[in-house]
Amino acid sequence: MLKKDLISRSPLRQMGYEHDDIIPEGGFGAVLARAGVGKTALLVQFALNTMLRGKRVLHVSLQDPVQKVDVWYRELFHHLAVQYQVGQIRTLWEEILPLRFIMTFKVEGFSVPRLRERLNDLTEQGIFRPEAIIMDGLICDDGAEPVLREMKAMVEELGLRAWFTVHVHRQVKADEDGVPKPLLPADELFDVALLLVTEGNEMHIRDLKSSQIPSPRPVLILDPATMLIKESAAVAS
């Protein structure tokens, strides 16, 4: 299987979206779930897909060190490549690796101006100019609204697409529509919100916001062993 086939297996396309970039330039997307369900895994898959399409991704983690984030990428890329029997795994990996930059901050040390400063270090010296940004571990509670607004301003100015992980504290029912509470303070900033829920031994992905997907919406299942989206998606009513 070739690289373009791998791109066409994009997690977003499997979810029924027509394009890989479901959020516009300057837009926000969120993946919501309880702890340990697979938010990071899903976002890393989005990032890998973006990299495979030749676009640069900045991965900002507020919880894991660089090496651990790197392991996420390696493992998921390896699983993907094995699942779809892509040849020349190493060459392809080497090809996309320069399109990723990992930045980690301590939760207490993170601020948007600081991120901006770091980003300027990179862009001014021509080291790295991201097109998408993955924000992993930002606490999206009631107090997060100012941070999110600052982020929005930055993302819009730089023409980036930003994905966030949002930790859901309470059990959210799988069929409950609407955005769970933790995201509410800055709800209008988000273009897309995907909810991961566990049902029995499976993990389902529900789209909470987008009107792009025709009804009935497909329910996608994450394989808990590899954290990859399973090929056979059931269709919910």
């Binding site: 991965h59 060190p65 660089v66 090496q67 984030v69 790197d70 190493r90 080497e94 690796l97 320069p98 930059f101 990992i102 930045m103 980690t104 901050f105 301590k106 040390g109 993170f110 600081r114 770091r118 270090d121 990179l122 001014e124 010296q125 021509g126 080291i127 790295f128």
Partner: protein, 695 residues
């Protein structure tokens, strides 16, 4: 020599550069009365720490060779291996870990878990070495043991459990609270040798109680007895807690943390208590050897003194009495006068003098039983050799030895230097498997190769100091490799029929890239187009071609050769003819198979104050580095990158000047990657110029 195996501890002290390992070892030797005065590492008093026995180490304030030494504490015999902290010498660290049963991971309370600690930790994991952590330098400004414990958990994934908490920090550091005994410990006297116990200061008692509960909670996971005691509200004795903690530690499920300041003579005795009560004895560790008679099937060794001998030579040193071989006996007993066999060479050796070492002093002993570390005199062997009783054919697990990535031409100044240089090189190559040397056939230069610039520099320096061999060095050269990127067919006739016996051979087939090995040869000839007796000659011919690529004369790797047709002549074909045909066929096909050059890429980790993050990334970027990520640690940041080795020469000087000397970096080999076309051209030009110069 004591014979109670349960009271033996073979431990290593591993850590990042400048975490204070050597100072700590020095203090341990002082408190265990092996030495009677304390010297500082940097040698201000002109004596230097006892463990840094090599002159050079004293001068540079770093530890190069892991000197083995022993001491006694609370009736236990503790063998200590002081290990080097620089990545360039990791083979030393790995070798030490192989023979150790437990380790002390020294961490700086200011720097915390640094890049080298991560490497050392990975090595410990590979050899399943249980460890305890010692947070050193609690007296330094910026000391924060709580943060270090947190880093142990988050960066290394250890289940770190504090057994102590500090009383005061930085310049106010007075002592520690022992959470097991629940009392304060102060270290008094000129050199902290007198322990004074007292009540826990009132301000700390709440926190101490909380930490004790946390510790007991963690420990109870490994002891039913302790759990019962908690549930039944019985008294929790220190012995009960220690037994549970020990069980967790031996399984590597738990890392006990103690703290202090070796330099200020605080906390070292409590660390020794922890070593003796929490780290394993040789009998607690399962060691395996490979049975060479049964296709290297693993055999579990019995740590009993009356079994046949199995021992590993883990370090060689050249002393005034000849070669000194450090060994660890895993099974049986080596005694004076017994006969043992070197498995690699098959040579029988009669054991002469035995000793145990204390840095560069020694003590003669009669026997080295299973579980002990000692030294043999006058035994010819290489490090990593296994010694066994006659009749056994076991080898200790072969250690992973990485291939060298950098080489350097050395030229002796005069005849005397030439002789001494040969002696030195023969010794160094035996001592260190990552250090290689050979003579370049074309330039006649002696080439030394190793794992990094500093690695080679130290050996050149040692040649000068220890052997009096003055040598001048050339520019370091990177170990490039060639490989092909696509399939190419060949059909080559080697024919020489002018005068004398003729030569004839035709070989057809193809070459293609492979990721499965350096060289794969496949014979798909049917119908006897090339008679079977000539096939090995064909393979040999191809193999010869790999040594020097036709493109830039670098070794070729990752290639598969398939032969599927050919022709021979009843009279004129010979092994020679087919070897020549194979070489010709290879030359012919190789250039059509789009050959490329690969270069070693190093993983470079730079730690610098945050304000220098931009300049550091710029420096790495200028060196064709690919920055993997940047980690913001508050005041400090860590930038991780993959940089070609060829671009890293002199990096330390540039980094120092760009960061006012506040940054440090470590570097280790990561992978081989294709060289960009423009750089490949430059390399070709350099090689052409060098050839011209040699001619």
């Amino acid at each position: 020599m004591k014979r109670d195996l349960a009271k033996v501890r073979n431990i290593g002290i591993s850590a990042h550069i400048d975490s204070g390992k050597t100072t700590l070892t020095e203090r341990i030797l002082y408190y265990t009365k092996r030495i009677h005065a304390i010297h500082e590492v940097k040698g201000k008093d002109g004596v230097g720490a006892t463990m840094d026995s090599m002159e050079l180490e004293k001068e540079r304030g770093i530890t190069i060779a892991s000197a083995a030494t022993y001491c006694e504490w609370n009736g236990h015999e503790v063998n200590i291996i002081d290990t080097p902290g620089h990545v360039d010498f990791t083979i030393e660290v790995e070798r030490s870990l192989r023979v150790l049963d437990g380790a002390v991971l020294v961490l700086c309370s200011v720097g915390g878990v640094q890049s080298q600690s991560i490497t050392v930790d990975q090595q410990m994991k590979r050899y399943h070495v249980p460890c305890i952590a010692f947070i050193n330098k609690c007296d330094r400004s910026g000391a924060n043991p709580v943060r270090v414990i947190e880093q142990l958990r988050s960066k290394l994934g250890h289940n770190a459990v504090a057994l102590q908490m500090p009383i005061g920090l930085e310049s106010d550091f007075q002592g520690v609270v022992d959470l097991i005994e629940m009392r304060a410990v102060y270290f008094e006297g000129a050199h902290g040798e007198e322990l004074r116990y007292g009540e826990i200061p009132a301000a700390l008692s709440g926190e101490a109680q909380r930490l004790r509960e946390e510790m007991i909670d963690q420990a109870s996971m490994y002891s039913d007895e302790l759990t019962e005691a908690i549930l039944e509200d019985r008294e929790i004795t220190p012995a009960l807690v220690l037994a549970a903690l020990r069980r967790g530690t031996l399984k590597r499920k738990l890392t006990p943390v103690v703290m202090g300041s070796a330099y200020k003579n605080k906390g070292v005795q409590k660390l020794l208590d922890a070593v003796t009560s929490l780290l394993p004895c040789p009998a607690d560790v399962e060691n395996t050897a490979l049975n060479l008679d049964e296709n290297e099937a693993p055999v579990i060794l019995k740590s009993a003194p009356d079994e046949p001998v199995v021992a590993l030579a883990f370090k060689l040193e050249d002393g005034p009495y000849g070669q000194l071989t450090y060994i660890r006996v895993y099974q049986g007993t080596i005694a004076r006068g017994t006969t043992i066999v070197n498995v690699r060479s098959g040579k029988k050796i009669k054991v002469g003098r035995l000793a145990r070492m204390h840095a560069d002093q020694m003590e003669d002993i009669e026997v080295i039983p299973a579980g002990y570390i000692g030294a043999l005199f006058g035994v010819e062997c290489a490090s990593g050799d296994t010694f066994v009783s006659p009749g056994l054919n076991l080898a200790m697990t072969s250690m992973y030895v990485p291939a060298p990535v950098i080489s350097l031409a050395i030229v002796p100044k005069d005849n005397k230097a030439q002789i001494n240089m040969s002696k030195a090189l023969s010794r160094f190559t035996k001592e260190d498997p990552t250090f290689k040397c050979h003579v370049d056939e074309e330039t006649n230069e002696t080439i030394i190769a190793g794992m990094g610039e500093l690695h080679l520099e130290v050996y050149v320096e040692r040649m000068r100091r220890e052997y009096g061999a003055e040598v001048s060095t050339g520019n370091p050269r990177v170990a490039y490799r060639e490989t092909i990127t696509r399939r190419a067919d060949f059909n080559y006739i080697h024919k020489k029929q002018t005068g004398g016996a003729g030569q004839y051979g035709r070989i057809a087939g193809y070459i293609e890239p492979t990721a499965e090995g350096d060289f794969i040869f496949e014979n798909k000839i049917t119908g006897g187009a090339i008679p079977t007796q000539y096939i090995p000659a064909c393979e040999k011919g191809f193999r010869q071609s790999l040594e020097k690529g036709p493109k830039l004369e670098f070794p070729i790797t990752g290639i598969k050769v398939v032969i599927n047709d050919g022709a021979y002549h009843a009279v004129d074909s010979s092994d020679m003819a087919f070897q020549a045909a194979a070489r010709g066929a290879f030359r012919d096909a190789y250039l059509r198979a789009r050959p490329v050059v690969h270069e070693p890429i190093m993983k470079v980790v730079v730690e610098a104050p945050t304000e220098f993050q931009g300049p550091v990334m710029g420096l790495l970027n200028q060196r064709r580095g690919m920055i993997v990520g940047a980690q913001d640690e508050g005041a400090m940041c860590i930038v991780e990158a993959q940089v070609p080795l060829a671009e890293m020469f002199g990096f330390s000087t540039v980094l120092r000047s760009a960061t006012q000397g506040k940054a440090q970096f470590t570097m280790e080999f990561s992978l081989y990657r294709q060289v960009p076309a423009a750089i490949a051209e430059k390399i070709a030009e350099e090689i052409a110029a060098r050839k011209k110069h040699a001619a």
